[in-house]
Symmetry: C2
Subunit: 416 residues, 2 copies
């Protein structure tokens, strides 16, 4: 069985909003063995919605819609759905109560438009929204299922997890699609493909598929098993992974979209070690990545965002003379930042970044994108210069990423 | 004239990759007066690609494709396009030279699959890729234009800005679509709608459109003018904005998707003031937002990521006794962090965050989502407790956002 996702709303088409809902829905449906074969974004217009529904129902069994359910007058999805299913709207008392409670608890005045959010098609199955005022709606016709949800990601995810995923699983029992992703770094996509060519050929002969997914500094490889019995698929993929590690294990740093901050955090946790970070050009981006992982307080102590000269001197005991002589973007300063941070915090490992993110601040000697990263540990301190030469946000992202990689290598290399 | 965007690749459908390309393309096309009326994501399969191209060409004049052009064997778009346009591949010497140079400069070995990236449909217009090895391709048939680009955002954007946007403008001259967005906070969507109901009615009578775009902590209002002569549209929108400010200006903090970190930064810059930040539960996320703005070193000094007790005491001179008595998540500690940070850095303003992001660490007294934020300035220090009660990443996001808002109000309120 196959599914489609339709997102409704001009904000996606004009590029004001990035559609993150579809990716989340795609992951969840895949885990249930439901293959998403199309995602469509359309305008918030009756004709467009009806056309898209007709097309999707012609191809797929399950159609999930997000968006177009707000109380304001630019949202017309609900009336269109009532029309599409030859239905009419009725006030649903349970929904109305929930909306009234919502406004009471937030202390905001409730208006007629909010009351109207309790008016829903009479024959749909209403999915109660405990996080907002727009309900979900589940329709069935000619064996096809249509589900409409609000576009606010937090509310949509709540409806799916509370009720809709279970309803889908009940309605369309199937064998799950298994994915495993291998995370590699330090190797180009085509070089890697060449290295594992025979393995890949055999993998395809065994009925699995492989995809290469490059992203900044990383090549991910995704293995997919579809149509297998679950246990068999798991065993088959494990076997392939073992073979892959023999061929190219030196490039692998993790699996299944584990972000580097998670991998590094687990290395620290297992060893009972602590980390502190001194950030200049990254401004806190590395700390924010560490803290994004639940439980990171077990191994992450914190750090300093030493953006100005003064902060580098006061918080990290960087030498004023060296700052003046070598400039803030230099190996010696990066090393002093890391060593100062390690000393100040008592951490086992400290990393430091200093660089020119751009677009201003570059010189012929140190063009935009020049970055020094240092790692300090019990084994001493080392630093490395990078020249990313990209735009500001990408220079910052690549710096954060490279710093975490240097740390990753240092933890593994100093592991005796 | 209308356009469509087709993204090719399983990674989007299974939810492994969020499609950020389409939003970027939507913005750029809109600015040229090109209305994007559909975005479609499909599998990397010949039949799917051909079907999607046929459908799109039946509706629109310009079809932009991204993805499916890598060197590895899961990418089949190029051959499908050659087939679709009854063409065949030929090696393009200029492209081959570029690929050879790319491998020489990065020091990686060049393989046959890389050489094959220089094989392109003989009759397409080749768009040279200066940032990678997959070329862009421009096809025309029956008055419709089809453009294929690699899926890596950095490369796709490069191709668009180097050449394709200019070609589109030349091929489809039109009147631009103007958007202005008003950023509001501290007001619910429906309350705001009620407040501005008459203004909105008149706006629609004048031929403009309005959309409400809620996101965490913010309601954005987007005014759109389409089909007007450019100068007239600008004047009309300006007039509407002036009226809006009279009605609801107290809720407005910015325009046109200016992020709060930009708005705050400009307030500081204009006043010649400096900011430092002491982050606990946000772990650097606020600093990272400040630093994401080019030129932020003019007003942002840096800060401390004081995640552990020890870091709070050592770097911010927070009282050990108060930490033990009141806990790290308390008003008194938030205030000490902000005051300590301000003193340590010499900044005019300092903000501090401390809270329980979750999922662990909550108590009946201080459940997950309990956050204290403090702002210190020459006028003294104030703190406020928030209870976000959401998941970890959203609690962190809302904390960062609320801290910047408290700072925004403090800068404006202390402005004498």
């Amino acid at each position: 069985m196959t599914a489609e996702i339709i997102t409704i709303g001009d904000e996606i088409l004009i590029g004001q909003t990035i559609d993150t809902n579809s990716a989340w829905l795609g992951q969840k449906l895949n885990a249930l063995g439901v293959d998403v074969n199309r995602i469509t974004s359309i305008h918030d217009e009756e004709g467009e919605i009806i056309k898209a529904l007709d097309e999707a129902a012609g191809r797929s069994d399950l159609i999930l819609m997000t968006g177009g359910l707000g109380p304001t007058r630019d949202d017309i999805t609900k009336n269109t759905l009532a029309k599409y299913f030859d239905d009419h709207l009725v006030i649903v008392p349970e929904v109305l109560e929930g909306i009234e409670e919502y406004f009471t608890s937030t202390g905001r005045p409730m208006l007629e438009v909010n009351r109207q959010q309790a008016a829903l098609p009479s024959r749909c199955r209403v999915i109660i929204n405990h996080r907002g005022t727009a309900s979900g709606m589940w329709f069935e016709r000619n064996g096809k299922v249509f589900v409409s949800m609000p576009g606010v990601p937090y509310e949509m995810k709540g409806l799916m997890e509370d009720e809709i995923l279970a309803l889908i699983q009940q309605r369309f029992p199937g064998s799950p699609i298994l994915h495993r992703t291998i995370m590699t770094q330090g190797v180009g996509e085509s070089f890697l493909a060449d290295l594992i060519a025979d393995w890949e050929t055999q993998l395809r002969l065994d009925g699995l598929t492989l995809a290469y997914l490059p992203s900044p500094g990383i090549v991910k490889l995704r293995i997919t098993a579809k149509g297998f019995e679950e246990q068999h698929a798991g065993r088959l993929i494990d076997e392939k992974l073992t073979q892959f590690m023999e061929l190219a294990g030196r490039f692998v740093f993790g699996f299944d979209d584990q972000p580097l901050e998670y991998v590094v955090g687990e290395l620290l946790r297992k060893r009972g070690k602590h980390l502190a970070i001194a950030e200049s050009c990254t401004g806190g981006a590395i700390g924010a990545r560490m803290v994004s992982i639940a439980g990171s307080s077990d191994y992450f102590l914190g750090g300093a965002v030493a953006y100005s000269y003064g902060m580098k001197e006061d918080m990290l005991e960087v030498s004023h003379e060296d700052l003046v002589t070598h400039g803030a973007v230099s190996g010696i300063i990066a090393e002093q930042m890391a060593v100062g941070m390690r000393k100040k915090s008592g951490a086992d490992f400290a990393i430091a970044t200093t660089g020119i993110a751009g677009p201003g601040g570059g010189t012929p000697d140190k063009p935009v994108g020049t970055v020094w990263i240092a790692v300090a540990s019990a084994a001493g301190v080392k630093s490395r210069c990078f020249r990313f030469r990209q735009n500001r946000s990408r220079n910052i992202e690549l710096t954060a990423h490279s710093a975490l990689f240097m740390l990753y290598r240092e933890i593994i290399d100093t592991d005796v």
